[in-house]
């Protein structure tokens, strides 16, 4: 059985950690990333180990997927998030209703 997480909204440092799953100590087999991956440039990704990705060649096609400019933006974004300044900021702020519940943080990014 494969565990699939949708980290489109919650991933890329938006919950104070790189992925929202990190708060729970769970590692999925597959997870999807988008939105925050390139700081607003259009890009998305499905991340999994290679042995899962057994699609036949030609199973998926895209014209604009993996655009170099978006990928460059995402590399810069990933570097920023990995160095930790943005994520630290996200972890230190509180949600607007003042609660520290982790689920609220996972749904909405923390500030």
């Amino acid at each position: 059985m494969l565990l699939i997480f949708d980290e489109v909204q919650s991933g890329m440092g938006r919950t104070g950690k790189m992925w929202a799953a990190d708060h729970f100590g769970i590692a999925p087999n597959i997870f999807s990333v988008a939105k925050g991956i390139a700081s607003g440039m259009p890009l998305s990704a499905t991340v999994a180990r290679a042995e899962i990705m057994t699609w036949p060649p030609g199973a998926q096609g895209t014209t604009f997927g993996g655009n170099p400019v978006s990928v460059a933006a995402s590399l810069a974004t990933i570097e920023l998030l990995e160095t930790g300044t943005c994520r630290q900021r996200g972890a230190n702020r509180r949600t607007y209703d003042g609660s520290d519940e982790i689920l609220a943080a996972a749904v909405r990014a923390r500030w």
């Binding site: 699609w55 607007y96 990014a109």
Partner: protein, 292 residues
């Protein structure tokens, strides 16, 4: 933080439609460059306590200022803005719009500018990728530097632009043995950086009919088409155990004069290695018909 009602916006200027839409104070100045003195927001703050948008049900979190944050990444502050009830607002918008690094972060802007000056678009389906993630190594095993041959975890930075691409691989740890596995297909360096690479793995049928050194070929020179068919030439080569690289074979054929000029016994076999001048006969060759 409790949301308390804010004083109304100063009525020095009649708010335009844009200002209303963005919940901007009416004193917001505009110029040809865009909104110049923005990052102050009046009105309900975004967040769970904000009144929901009547269309989406989302909190009204989109009262944002999309410019002038690039200079240091800090919002411009108006004097006495606290007394006026306006709040400086650094937007890390979440929800539909996403700017987890803030708006116009200098390093992100620079990356986009540099890349846009170098290469904007590729037709990624012209490439075949055996595995996902960035490879970071160079195309040919022979020409690849030792650092890239040793694997992705090498601390020695590879020459540009491969080094930039390797950070992605380090972040999303998909596979580290890509640069070591022989006989695989890889795309060019730019396609290799694609996060949405669609050609995840070659089929077993394809694998048996592939020349071991045939890597980093666009679709025109690849050993297969998108429908899994292979050319007879490469099938024969693999069956005969020919382990020479295609590049060597190509140059040898050219030296010997059998370089697919359109006549002779080599015609139709080496069509994939012809130069551009013989493109026309390439498209009409029998192998082309059998492939696609």
């Amino acid at each position: 933080m409790t949301s308390r009602p804010l004083p109304p916006a100063p009525a020095c200027l009649a708010p335009t439609k844009t200002r209303r839409a963005l919940l901007l104070p009416s004193s917001t100045k505009f110029s040809k460059e865009g909104i110049v003195d923005l990052p102050l927001i009046g009105g309900p703050l975004p967040g769970p306590n904000a009144p929901p948008d009547h269309r989406t049900g989302y909190p009204r979190a989109l009262a944002v200022l999309y410019t002038q944050l690039s200079a240091g990444g800090r919002p411009w502050r108006r004097r006495n803005h606290h007394r006026r009830g306006w709040k400086p607002f650094l937007d890390f918008a979440a929800g539909i719009a996403v700017v987890a690094t803030g708006h116009c972060h200098p390093s992100v802007v620079k990356a986009i500018q540099d890349q846009a000056a170098r290469l904007i678009h590729i037709v990624r389906d012209r490439f075949l990728l055996r595995k996902y993630g960035g490879a970071g190594g160079r195309s040919s095993p022979r020409s690849r530097p030792a650092a890239a041959r040793a694997g992705s975890t090498s601390a020695t930075p590879a020459p540009r632009p491969w080094r930039r691409l390797s950070s992605l691989r380090a972040t999303i740890r998909v596979d580290s043995d890509l640069s070591r596995s022989p006989g695989r297909f890889m795309a060019g360096p730019w396609a290799r950086s694609s996060l949405t690479a669609s050609k995840g793995r070659t089929t077993p049928r394809f694998r048996t009919a592939r020349a071991p050194e045939c890597i980093t070929r666009p679709m025109r020179t690849a050993t297969r088409c998108a429908y899994g068919k292979t050319t007879g030439y490469l099938r024969r080569r693999v069956r005969q155990g020919d382990r020479r690289s295609i590049a060597e074979d190509h140059s040898a054929r050219r030296r010997s004069g059998r370089d697919c000029r359109g006549t002779g016994p080599g015609r139709g076999r080496l069509y994939r290695f012809r130069r551009r001048s013989s493109w026309r006969s390439w498209s009409a060759s029998p192998a082309r018909t059998a492939c696609c």
